[in-house]
Symmetry: C2
Subunit: 477 residues, 2 copies
């Protein structure tokens, strides 16, 4: 299980995908013909041979790579793949897979298989999946845990999603401040293994209150007879269990943390969070924006079945349609004007579409700024001023170009003036809309990206039609 370079890994994955496809093809061919005992046997043999090859290929991969493979194949093939994973690896592969895969597996595998997955999980890992595991299986597993682990598990579940508490682990190594370096080293040797991603150990006083941290490096660097308190660092980044995970992730990034203690209001250590969990969180948070903007649910599986996808997209499609109906009614207000000057209908999408794009540019900037924590109340006013000037200048330039374009086709100076001015006004207006929509969503405690593209586009389109057709009906008739 040594590491493969990226290219080798891709080749391996491709060959596995091919094997999976072959199996399907064999199945299809045989299903098309009439079944005889002989054919059945032949099919079984072919299958067996390929399953063996598949099994060999798959189990050469790192656990995390198998989990990734599960994510990039359609649902029906996921079970095919799952069956060939070595029994002693199913737990790790399951934990490495994303939530969609975990849910699909749990809701489709027979109980025996699920038990195999959870039978060796510790309290920590169980805490992450309690929501999605069948209740009676979970209860069965809980009985096997120690009293402490059961308590911890109950506690961990009480924190809300996206809080530090929901992401922390109870797997940590605690040091007393008056221990000597050699005592700590001895204790570490006894337990044989430190928690994953341990760069430092947490130091407490006699009441169990966090007083500092000691890095493994310091343990190696110092004389075995040194007292921990003398060499520990008291400059500790720590979190409360109710802190938002997003805040913690920013702190991990900013202060380059590998692990950090989670404490209660009296300073006692509740648990530990590490960079692995934070990196996963960051990745999710960041890639969500792209989907949320256009009204998609970030938790949706790329390979979810058609019907569940149709359903999950329904709400925002409905909102989209409603918004577009409003846009259409705005145009409807000017039916008379349009019928007198049909070229307005040809030109009006120019004003609306560029406005929609400008609105989305500004909205994207604001959403990214909010995600990175670069926008607050004070500087959003500055930002508004800046966007106003940028789009006023761009509006002037584009206004002139559009006026020329329309003059080329219609040789009507008044029309050119009207569309040029409409362009300028609409760009400034669109920037204002793009700035307001995510800030308003944020203010109302929604995700600022949520549907912002749909709302911004519809609003900027309506304004574009209103400004252009409005000016036209006043000045061109």
């Amino acid at each position: 299980m040594t590491y493969q370079s990226g290219q080798q890994l891709n080749q391996q994955i491709d060959s596995i995908l091919e094997l999976l496809n072959k199996q399907e093809i064999v199945q299809t061919i045989f299903h098309r013909q009439q079944h005889t005992a002989e054919k059945n046997l032949l099919e079984a043999m072919l299958h067996k041979q390929q399953a063996a090859e598949l099994e060999e290929q798959v189990n050469k991969l790192h656990n995390a790579d198998i989990a990734h493979l599960l994510e990039i194949i359609p649902i029906n093939k996921r079970f095919q793949l799952w069956q060939v994973i070595a029994a002693d690896r199913v737990t790790e592969v399951f934990l490495d897979a994303n939530e969609n895969i975990q849910e699909t597996l749990l809701s489709n595998l027979p109980e025996g298989e699920i038990l195999k997955i959870i039978q060796f999980m510790d309290a920590d890992d169980l805490a992450f999946i309690t929501d999605i595991i069948p209740k009676h299986l979970m209860e069965q597993r809980l009985l096997e845990l120690s009293q402490d682990d059961q308590l911890w598990l109950n506690h961990a579940q009480s924190y809300k999603e996206d809080s530090v508490g929901s992401l922390m682990s109870n797997d940590m190594f605690i040091v007393k401040q008056f221990e000597m370096v050699k005592d700590v080293s001895k204790r570490i040797r006894e337990i044989k293994k430190l928690p994953d991603q341990s760069d430092k150990l947490f130091v407490v006083d006699s009441r169990g209150v966090l007083t500092g941290v000691i890095s493994l490096e310091k343990l190696l660097l110092n004389n075995p007879k040194k007292i921990i308190k003398e060499i520990m660092s008291t400059n500790v980044v720590h979190f409360s269990a109710n802190d938002s995970a997003s805040h913690a992730a920013k702190a991990f990034e900013r202060y380059d943390l590998i692990s950090a203690p989670v404490i209660n209001e009296r300073g006692k250590i509740l648990g530990r969070i590490n960079v692995e969990v934070m990196m996963d969180y960051l990745r999710e948070e960041n890639t969500e924006d792209v989907l949320n903007m256009v009204g998609l649910n970030a938790e949706d599986d790329l390979f979810a079945p058609v019907i569940s996808t149709v359903r999950s997209r329904g709400l925002w499609l409905g909102i989209n349609l409603f918004a577009v109906f409003l846009v259409s009614r705005v145009i409807g207000l000017f039916e008379q004007t349009l019928s007198e000057m049909i070229y307005l209908a040809v030109l009006m999408p120019i004003v609306a579409a560029v406005g929609g794009n400008i609105g989305n540019q500004t909205a994207s900037l604001v959403i990214r700024g909010l995600t990175l924590g670069q926008i607050n109340l004070q500087n959003s006013i500055h930002l508004a001023k800046k966007e106003f000037f940028v789009n006023a200048i761009n509006g002037l330039i584009l206004g002139v170009v559009v006026a020329l374009f329309s003059f080329v086709f219609y040789q009507n100076t008044a029309l050119s003036l009207v569309i040029g001015i409409a362009m300028l006004l609409n760009l400034v207006m669109a920037a204002f809309i793009g700035l307001s929509v995510p800030l308003a969503l944020k203010y109302l405690n929604y995700d600022p990206a949520m549907g912002s593209s749909i709302i911004t586009t519809a609003a900027a389109d309506s304004m574009g039609f209103l400004i252009f057709l409005g000016l036209a009906s006043v000045f061109l008739i």
Copy 2:
């Protein structure tokens, strides 16, 4: 410099922002009135008092927090803030700031100040900023480096942007495989400090070829007389200097790495990359998509001056305008039809706008899938099929709703049929466009997000108008 909770930090930042504002207000008031010696003195005193307060507040913050503060304030205030940062912290704050801030500072600070920033930088950090630092200052600094460091610096610069080589550091601790644990411990104690984020040390044979890694944990766990080779791990995730940073970041995420060796084709160690650099890279890569889609440059500073912003947005605005002109010409083809049935002009944006949104949904899905490495050639065909069915079903539903909407306003059965069918066809077409645009960009070796929203919207809009007006001119006349 102990860590502050998130709320405390925000309060501190707010009070600093207020101080910065006050200074500006004092300046403005005094500048408005006529200058007399007395007033000048008064102004200077007020300034001094506030500068002292500002200095105190700012230097209470963590280096990384000061760097963040620089990012969220307008350019003119950045210099004001820079002046009060303690002299012994400027290098660290500078290194913690993002590239925009670094460039602004380097191109505006007097040479003396720049020298203060770089005088204590090591070869590693210098490598990151060689591109943006004035050449003669860099050469001056280079002369002070050791021969080895100079060589390394030259080497590091030879790797292209976004390669592992460009992100690696030469700060590492190498262990010979036949050393004993106690030898290594002794050597560590001699150098007093390990490189940042050292979870493991790299092990080489007598020719300097990487043969394994030994974690600090193992050093602590094992008997001092053990030979490294016996306890090291040979399952090493390593990279080549020419690997893409994006590939390495995915591996860091997938295999939960803290640090990893970079080797050449013969297995010799060239450098080291760590999770800190990878997290920064991931963050940038992820937040870029949101901006790239709408034709913005992800490297743009939120607070860049108006003119440079106007210029940097110019290209894609031009492309946008050109695309919209094409859309308008598509409508122009049907001027005759429109003049006969003016209600088509009122209804046509419905078909186009919903299509544009659907196209962007699919494009967003594909872009995210590509970023996460979940989409390849094989499964993109599966994905295409799925999106076809999802949008065909949604198209049917929306088609019926739009048909009813148009019937309410125009009581024209044929018109309702035409718009319903146009809706269905355009949704399927838009999904196909949204799928093709990012995949085509990727195939052409561009960033798949680059301008994809602009291209997709324009293409889906044109198709929408073409399909609806086309059907109308055939069946309604």
